[in-house]
Symmetry: C2
Subunit: 134 residues, 2 copies
């Protein structure tokens, strides 16, 4: 509660960037695929990751195939059998991809902090004038 006290609009803290990498002639990597990879890493299962993202298993599986097709090394590794009757996890290349993607987002935010704050201020001043008018 204390954290909110500085502002009436606690949610308006900073602009976030959604970034999609467009590999020309090859494919796209965006927030959805990266989130799926992180969920697979957490759950060690494609179907559990799909459930966590409210996505069909088929869609998750196609996204994984897509990622494995884009890169020289597999990104997700599946196995069969064992006590958990199969599962999936990220390969080293998969871990590297997630880390690289997150670094790209973070560096983009860092490189643009001033202009992003300026854009947000020009939007928030509208919100402020609305609040004071109501």
């Amino acid at each position: 509660m204390k954290r909110k006290s500085r502002s009436r609009r606690a949610k308006s803290t900073a602009i976030e960037l959604s970034i999609r990498l467009d590999l020309p002639g090859i494919g796209h990597i965006g927030p959805g695929k990266i989130e799926l990879l992180k969920q697979i890493r957490t759950h060690r299962s494609i179907s559990a990751a799909a459930r966590a993202m409210k996505m069909s298993y088929r869609r998750a599986w196609l996204l994984v195939q897509d990622l494995n097709d884009v890169f020289a090394e597999p990104i997700v590794e599946k196995w069969f059998g064992g006590t958990a009757r199969g599962g999936a996890t990220l390969t080293e290349a998969g871990d590297r991809l997630v880390a690289s993607y997150e670094a790209v987002v973070q560096k983009s935010v860092d490189a643009n902090r001033a202009v992003l704050n300026e854009i947000l201020r020009s939007a928030q001043s509208r919100e402020a004038s609305r609040s004071s008018a109501s």
Copy 2:
């Protein structure tokens, strides 16, 4: 033609970034709205901009309303009458928004050149091994 000679895959030159700005609790600004603004600036008309983007006038108009609602100052200005029987153009705030957005994309690319090239190489090596196998 000469520019292509260094590579068999001339299209695979660099990763491009599609960036959406998420203003928390306020709205989104992404490549589609920015392209619409640039088309409005070029054509001085919302309907001509919509046609250029193969978008319905209604959709273009809603996107413009959305942008005008987000910011303190209007982004697109419409007028009626005159020899062209009305039209639209960007306000100064609109020009600033387009310039700021494009600066964000350019700075993000610049700040991440090394890691983006690394990601592209790890994808292209797959393409190369496919080409040589076929």
